[in-house]
């Protein structure tokens, strides 16, 4: 009876693989649902897509021909099937306004959004996590109150208004940063004609090209919108960090670490943080997704040529394929981020692996 029950086999990766496969199944269903929603939205559009192509004065025959070409004469379920099939091949339809494929236009706009949201999330995490930890280690203190109120303010701020105020103060009054746009026009030309584009993200591309003047100018443009988005995500991340950290600091294993004489920084930043990191991954992924969404409004303020601007511009020219294509892309990014955080979660948490 003294034999120790053997720990489970060492191969911890196998269950992860099954879980990833299962997750991919869910992902597929969710994406299908997403396409169904946009499909339904597209079909109830009051503006007839045919009329917008041929114009009001087309003959019956012309309309019928176009209908056939667009597949609108097929039964709805077949149309949906074709829609899904096209989307899977990366074909999101043709923009009514420009006549170009929506997918390739989005591919051109998306890096700007990605750059902005990524930088915002990095800011938000770098400030939000320490702030949340600070608040959690001194509950009820002045620091805690400040983190709480500053966080709630971030929750309550309309992001487009925040952008306007930011422009007014830091660009208009203080002149610390450059104004709207990703680059000054001169650098924009340089970027376009003399530098090689690798990723479409100016900070990365200019650095890879060694064009530090372009890089510096890009920083002066992106710092304000990214900082503001960072504030919004900081509000969320600091709150969640605080609540997770409070929870972990109440656990018994924390006392064990202290019993062992571990210094407080190690108790908090190693013992507790390793546990906080598990749910925090999901939170950061979620806030990243929200920043991609928040960029819709921010981009209009900062004339930022990203996905948000693309969607809103398309909205105003009633370019439904472009609007829905953009919606699908943001939805896919959302779902994928969720999925990725789920998988990462399982990799980080040993309890979820078995």
């Amino acid at each position: 009876m003294t034999s120790t029950p053997a720990p489970p086999p060492r191969n911890r990766l196998l269950p992860v693989v099954t879980q990833i496969l299962l997750g991919l199944g869910t992902l597929a269903i969710t994406l299908l649902g997403l396409l169904l929603i946009t499909f339904v939205i597209a079909r109830v559009v009051p503006t007839d897509p045919v009329l917008s192509i041929v114009g009001e004065r087309a003959t019956e025959a012309q309309i019928a021909a176009i209908r056939e070409k667009l597949g609108l004469d097929l039964p709805l379920w077949q149309q949906f099937f074709i829609y899904v099939w096209d989307a899977m091949r990366g074909d999101l339809g043709t923009s009514i306004k420009t006549g170009a494929p929506v997918a390739s236009e989005i591919a051109r706009y998306f890096p700007a959004t990605l750059e902005l949201a990524t930088l915002g999330t990095i800011f938000g995490t770098l400030v939000g996590v320490p702030a949340g930890v600070l608040a959690a280690t001194r509950p009820g203190s002045i620091a805690d109150q400040i983190v709480r109120v500053v966080g709630l303010m971030g929750y309550s701020m309309p992001v487009f208004w925040l952008g306007l105020i930011g422009l007014l103060v830091f660009y208009g009054q203080l002149d610390w940063v450059s104004g709207p746009g990703r680059l000054d026009p001169t650098y924009d030309m340089m970027m376009e004609f003399t530098l090689t584009s690798y990723t479409g993200m100016i900070l990365i591309d200019s650095a890879l090209n060694g064009a530090w003047d372009v890089f510096g100018n890009a920083v002066s443009h992106i710092i304000l919108p990214a900082g503001l988005l960072g504030y919004v995500s900081m509000a969320y991340i600091s709150r969640m960090t605080r609540s997770f950290m409070m929870n972990e600091l109440g656990q018994e294993y924390i006392t064990t670490a202290r019993v062992k004489g571990m210094p407080e920084w190690r108790v908090v930043w190693v013992h507790a943080m390793k546990n906080v990191a598990v749910p925090l991954i999901t939170v950061i992924a979620l806030s990243y997704a929200y920043l991609l969404e928040g960029s819709v409004l921010t981009e209009t303020i900062f004339a930022w040529p990203g996905l948000g601007s693309y969607i809103t511009d398309a909205l105003f020219s009633a370019d439904m394929p472009a609007v829905l294509g953009g919606t699908v892309v943001v939805g896919v990014v959302f779902v994928t981020l969720n999925m990725a955080s789920d998988i990462l979660y399982r990799l980080v948490d040993p309890r979820a692996r078995t």
Partner: protein, 273 residues
């Protein structure tokens, strides 16, 4: 000279529903001996043990007339001075290994972190020491356990890991909070004999917290009986079974079911008697 001296210790929790007095004036002194603390669930045994290490969390407060360890005032010692004592000179085996081990760190890292951080040992040396400590508490496959996460261990293994962890720095005082409740008899006997050797050969002081009166009567030198935060009786372990105090008698009378037996031990123990 006594190793630990506690006079009129009180532990109070300031909760929303009012003050909760978990410990209400406990005094005892401990030499290089085995002191048992028994009492029903919620009587304040754990809080007494933690108060010695000054590890009561807010809203809990510790008050006492005096608390000294090896001549050093630990009631007023700075947090820094306390940290120097914790682990190294005073260890504490925590009550429930299921919650007392860090769920996302391997057993090996938790065992070696003290050695590596505090004693500056290299990875190989620390690992060797940890493995030796695991072997000492009768763990068959220490290499494997080192790589395991706590949730992969059984309750009994967790308890032994916890004991090994606290014994590694060879403390002068060990507070063991129900250290053997999930062990079966043979392992329990082995663990107790390790603790016994440490007390006898190295002069370690031991505070042994338990529900199990018979075990305490057999194993310890002296016993404190606690009830509602007070020590109701202090008695030599050998005379525990004919104690005077009505509460102790009551405990003895309902012996097989005190607070619910936690492991298979009481059953086997009864058969052995």
């Amino acid at each position: 000279m006594s190793l630990l001296e506690v006079r009129n210790l009180r532990v109070t929790f300031d909760t929303e529903t009012g003050l909760v007095q978990a410990v209400r004036g406990v005094s005892f002194s401990l030499g290089h001996e085995r002191l048992g603390i028994v009492g029903e669930s919620g009587s304040g045994k754990t809080m007494t043990g933690r108060a010695v290490l000054r590890l009561i969390r807010p809203p809990g407060r510790i008050e006492a007339d005096a608390m000294t360890f090896d001549g050093q005032d630990i009631l007023h010692a700075s947090e820094r001075e306390m940290r120097a004592l914790r682990g190294k000179r005073i260890g504490m085996v925590m009550q429930d290994p299921k919650y007392s081990l860090n769920p996302v760190m391997t057993v090996g890292r938790q065992l070696t972190e003290g050695l590596r951080l505090r004693d500056g040992l290299g990875r190989a040396d620390a690992t060797a020491k940890a493995i030796a400590a695991l072997e000492a508490v009768q763990i068959r496959d220490p290499g494997r356990v080192m790589d395991a996460y706590p949730h992969e261990l059984s309750g009994g293994m967790g308890q032994r890991v916890m004991i090994a962890m606290m014994l590694i720095p060879e403390p002068e005082l060990l507070i063991a909070d129900e250290p053997t409740s999930a062990l079966d008899v043979t392992v329990q006997a082995e663990v107790l004999s390790i603790l016994d050797r440490l007390v006898r050969d190295r002069g370690m002081g031991l505070i042994f917290i338990s529900h199990d009166l018979r075990l305490v009567a057999r194993f310890c030198d002296r016993v404190l009986v606690m009830h509602k935060g007070l020590v109701v009786e202090e008695i030599a372990a050998s005379r525990l079974l004919d104690a005077k105090h009505p509460y102790t008698k009551g405990l003895l009378n309902c012996l097989p079911r005190i607070g619910g037996p936690r492991g298979p031990l009481p059953v086997l123990d009864r058969a052995g008697i």
